[in-house]
């Protein structure tokens, strides 16, 4: 049911020319994915998707839309090469997905690697019940430090791009 809603909303995002409407639909899309994650018992990912995908990215896209025209320019014609590439890639992915192991089976490769160690040892190692927090900040804390640095770098990049005053570049406006 949620997947169906996801497809409908995704098509809506692609088809609409109104970027504000696309932003709102994208927020609904993120919220639906968050619901799916929650249904799969992935609370941390669901919370992240709801807060970042549905919340902050929507606000940031709206902030960008406040700077650019609201409607997408219509372009004539179709790009057949792009359609062909998308169809071939999609068909290849669907074909590959037939070979995936059964969803949720206990002997899948993903459950044979380091997962069991974390599940068995986290509480005796760290004494905290949330495995995800333990893995992110404890076992894999250098990765998380890298992520924090990436966020700071993104902030610096946005600051560098937007702190210079805008040039008067638009020709179409009425001569002031």
């Amino acid at each position: 049911m949620l997947l169906l809603l996801l497809i409908v909303v995704g098509l809506g995002v692609v088809l609409t020319r109104d970027l504000l409407k696309a932003t709102m639909l994208f927020a609904i899309y993120s919220l639906t994915i968050a619901g799916l994650f929650a249904a799969l018992d992935a609370g941390d990912v669901a919370l992240t998707e709801a807060a970042v995908g549905a919340g902050i990215s929507t606000i940031l896209i709206l902030a960008v839309l406040a700077l650019v025209p609201r409607h997408e320019k219509r372009r004539g014609g179709h790009n057949l090469a792009a359609l062909f590439t998308v169809l071939v890639t999609g068909a290849a992915l669907v074909y590959a997905s037939l070979d995936l192991p059964e969803f949720g089976a206990a002997d899948n490769p993903v459950h044979q690697h380091v997962g069991p160690y974390y599940i068995e040892q986290t509480y005796s190692d760290m004494g905290i019940p949330n495995l995800v927090a333990a893995v992110l900040a404890g076992y894999r804390s250098i990765d998380t430090m890298g992520e924090a640095v990436v966020i700071l770098t993104a902030g610096i990049a946005v600051y560098a791009l937007l702190s210079v005053p805008p040039r008067r570049r638009r020709k179409k406006g009425p001569p002031a």
Binding site: R17, V68, A133, A137, I151, L162
Partner: protein
């Protein structure tokens, strides 16, 4: 939006709750879903809602830009400092066990501190993003460019409803 009483009342009620929930997600992250990233995002969403209602000037009076820049760097520095503290106390980089006597308490203290660093950085960087875009819009309007000039509804170009 200050003159819309419904928005102001709802926002006044919601902003503390949003920020409180952000802090809950931050400091309760070892027991329930959550952590620094989500908490930072939720906390800054509270501030952005405040800016939507009261305007950017008021929002910047509460958290000045200098504080935003400083905290964004301090969050990452706190993370690295906790990592180096483990080295100083005789462990490895980002090794939390040397921090305290009891291994569990040491791990929990380390995790809480680094997550706090992540949360501070994420919250302030998101505020910085919003601040830069909002300022840019103000500059464009002040510079005689109207960002909304092409925003007239164009119903014939809208083929999805």
């Amino acid at each position: 939006m200050k003159d819309n009483p419904i928005l102001v009342v709802v926002a006044r009620f919601l902003i503390p709750l949003v920020m409180l929930f952000g802090l809950y997600v931050q400091f309760h992250g070892e027991y329930s879903p959550g952590g620094g990233f989500q908490a930072g995002v939720i906390f800054s969403a509270g501030w952005i809602l405040f800016v939507f209602v009261y305007g950017l000037e008021t929002g910047l009076r509460i958290i000045p830009p200098g504080v935003i820049y400083t905290l964004a760097s301090l969050g990452v520095l706190l993370y690295c400092f906790i990592g180096l503290l483990g080295v100083i106390l005789g462990g490895r980089f980002l090794d939390f066990y040397p921090l305290l006597e009891s291994p569990h308490a040491a791990q929990q203290a380390g995790i809480i501190l680094v997550e706090f660093g992540v949360g501070v950085t994420v919250a302030t960087v998101v505020m910085l993003f919003f601040l830069m875009f909002a300022r840019r819009r103000g500059e464009e309007i002040a510079g005689g460019l109207d960002p909304d000039a092409e925003d007239e509804p164009q119903p014939d170009e809208d083929d999805w409803r």
